[in-house]
Amino acid sequence: MNAIIRVSDLGKRYRIGNAERHRTLREALAAMAKAPARTMARLCGAAGAPTDHIWALRGLEFELSQGEVVGIIGRNGAGKSTLLKILSRITEPTTGWFELGGRVSSLLEVGTGFHSELSGRENIYLNGAILGMRRREIERKFDEIVAFAEVEKFVDTPLKHYSSGMQARLAFAVAAHLEPDILVVDEVLAVGDLGFQKKCLGKMEDVSRQGRTVLFVSHNMAAIESLCKSCLLLSEGRLAARGTPAEVVHRYIASEIRVDSASRSLINHSGREVNCVALMQSVEIGSADPAGGATVRMGAPVSVRVAFRSDEPLHPYLGVVVKTAQGQNVLTVNNDFLPNFRLDHPVRWGTVVCDFDWMPLMPGTYSLDLYLGTNPYQDIDIIHDAISFEVVPADVFGTGKLPEAAWGMIFWPARWRLEEGEERAAGHPNGG
């Protein structure tokens, strides 16, 4: 493989607190008066290892090949931004080295160097130059940038009169027209409205298709999954995992989210209705999620397993109600509803398994009410909020765009087509 970025034993140590540092000259001079030799040595950077420090990155080792689009994920403080800053040469590593096989442009913030007093046109030139574009290049792409940003009418208006959305669009438009060999992007898709975000994602896909290498930090797991070919997981400054986005994202979610464990005993459950016979022994939520636990990715298959034990043999009928955290019922399933569901003979114990090929649930916390009965019209054991589980975001539509909570309680992958109308059918009065 053709490595374009090679990283070896990369580490970055930051000092914390003020122990080693003099913010004003007076303090530096005072310290120098008290302990001249030591202070001089310290100011010259020859001091021994300071005690108050943190390793933002430690012992990082990886190679990226040309044209690879790499997502970098991890919780806040895991070292993602530090890594990007080192690779874009803004700050220097404390240990190790890295090699870059091409021109790097970094987009750690949208609109770096924008000046509110300057017009849109002037800011395009300034920002382009700061991001490493040649003047000629900017001139050539100017109209395209303005069109992409949708600010044609305001090109000569000072930036301070732009809305924040317009500023963000302009900034991303400039950045999107960079042509570096390596593009380093930090969480910038969080700007702009929905339509614009989509446009940016599309533009980034174009960038990677042209054989550029993209490093992409985001908290938007769906974007990572749909854009990236591989993914790095950082944890406390170290490389915790590397693999396909799906694997690494699962692993990250597994390490981050804990709701209930995947199974729960129901023998002494506080949600059991009074006067019920305690037949249900345990409930287990099974999902294909390698995270384990009661974590379900949007759209992933889920199974609910309820174990029961009874003194009398019975035909078990199970009702499962999925409720939101606010207690609203989202859906109910019951094997009694199915005409063809038949049990051969009554049993004293066993497990009723309810498989969902997928659940149309939006991300959030949900709980299950369970109803177990022997007879269609008689529930014997009822438990409210028997178990809770978390639905986590996933790129269910395969577009990198997450369904939004505001759209409704469930998502649905409708099929679409356009029936083209004929002009004549539109019925022009003077068409004749």
Binding site: H22, R89, I90, G96, E99, E117
Partner: protein, 269 residues
């Protein structure tokens, strides 16, 4: 492959890299010029008002009342010829000294040779210099001061002045990243410095015994050089040579210090 390693690196000048980024130098200077007089009523006229008003006051107090000699030239021309480069130098040092802190958002978000920031601040000062120089060209015939070929010397002198300003500006800017004292120290130091430089008085009033001390300040030789060029006098070659040598050494040293400190800018600023 470009390789970046931890640890010390040679503090050499990356000429090729600087050349590759020349357009950014231009754009940063252009921004400084564009933005400087935005939302002001007088706009670029400030570049004229400052030295002219100073000239009027100095002429009144130092020329007329205190009777400071002007080496036989009209005092207004004499003092303006000194104020013109001095104002450029003082503003350039102040602006570049503050430039890194003022552009901290760039330093923490984008890579480019950091020296471009103080460099652009100095370059932006050249525009003001050109505007106030035009005033001098208008004044000279009014005071019957002849224009001579010697005036062309002002060009290399300006280059040296810019280098001196960059040398001090870079050093102050680098220190300012770590120690914000520069904000208070610089305006004050610049004020004192003007009196240690023959701006309002001629070199000739300093006893010849002490003159060598005056010329340790590179601005002394340079300002004297501007005067010779503009007033058509013979050049003090020893003074100019001293100024040139000190300026170049100072620039080399401050460039070295800057390169050493630049690696930690993004972490400290």
């Amino acid at each position: 492959m470009l390789r970046v390693s931890a640890g010390r690196r040679p503090a050499t000048l990356e000429v090729r890299e600087l050349w590759a980024y020349r357009e950014l130098l231009y754009f940063l200077a252009w921004r400084d010029v564009k933005v400087r007089y935005k939302q002001t009523v007088l706009g670029a006229a400030w570049a004229i008002v400052q030295p002219v008003a100073t000239m009027v006051v100095f002429t009144l107090f130092f020329g007329k009342l205190a009777g400071i000699p002007a080496d036989g030239a009209p005092y207004p021309i004499f003092v303006y010829a000194g104020l013109l480069p001095w104002t450029f130098f003082a503003n350039a040092v102040t602006a570049s000294g503050d430039s890194l802190v003022a552009n901290s958002s760039l330093i923490t978000k984008v890579y480019f040779p950091r020296v471009l920031i103080p460099g652009a601040a100095v370059a932006a000062g050249l525009v003001d210099f050109a505007i106030s120089a035009a005033v001098l060209l208008i004044m000279m015939p009014l005071y019957a001061a002849p224009m001579t070929a010697r005036m062309l010397m002002a060009v290399p002198l300006l280059a040296l002045t810019a280098m001196a300003a960059l040398a001090f500006g870079m050093l102050i800017a680098a220190l300012n990243v770590r120690y914000r004292d520069a904000r208070y120290a610089v305006p004050f130091a610049i004020q004192l410095w003007m009196f240690l430089t023959p701006v309002i008085y001629p070199v000739s009033i300093v006893p010849s015994r002490w003159r060598w001390m005056l010329f340790l300040n590179p601005m002394s030789g340079l300002i004297q050089g501007y005067r010779s060029a503009l007033l058509g006098r013979a050049f003090d070659l020893a003074g100019l040579a001293a100024a040139a040598v000190i300026t170049v050494l100072m620039l080399a040293w401050s460039g070295f210090v800057f390169r050493r400190m630049e690696r930690s800018f993004a972490d400290v600023v």
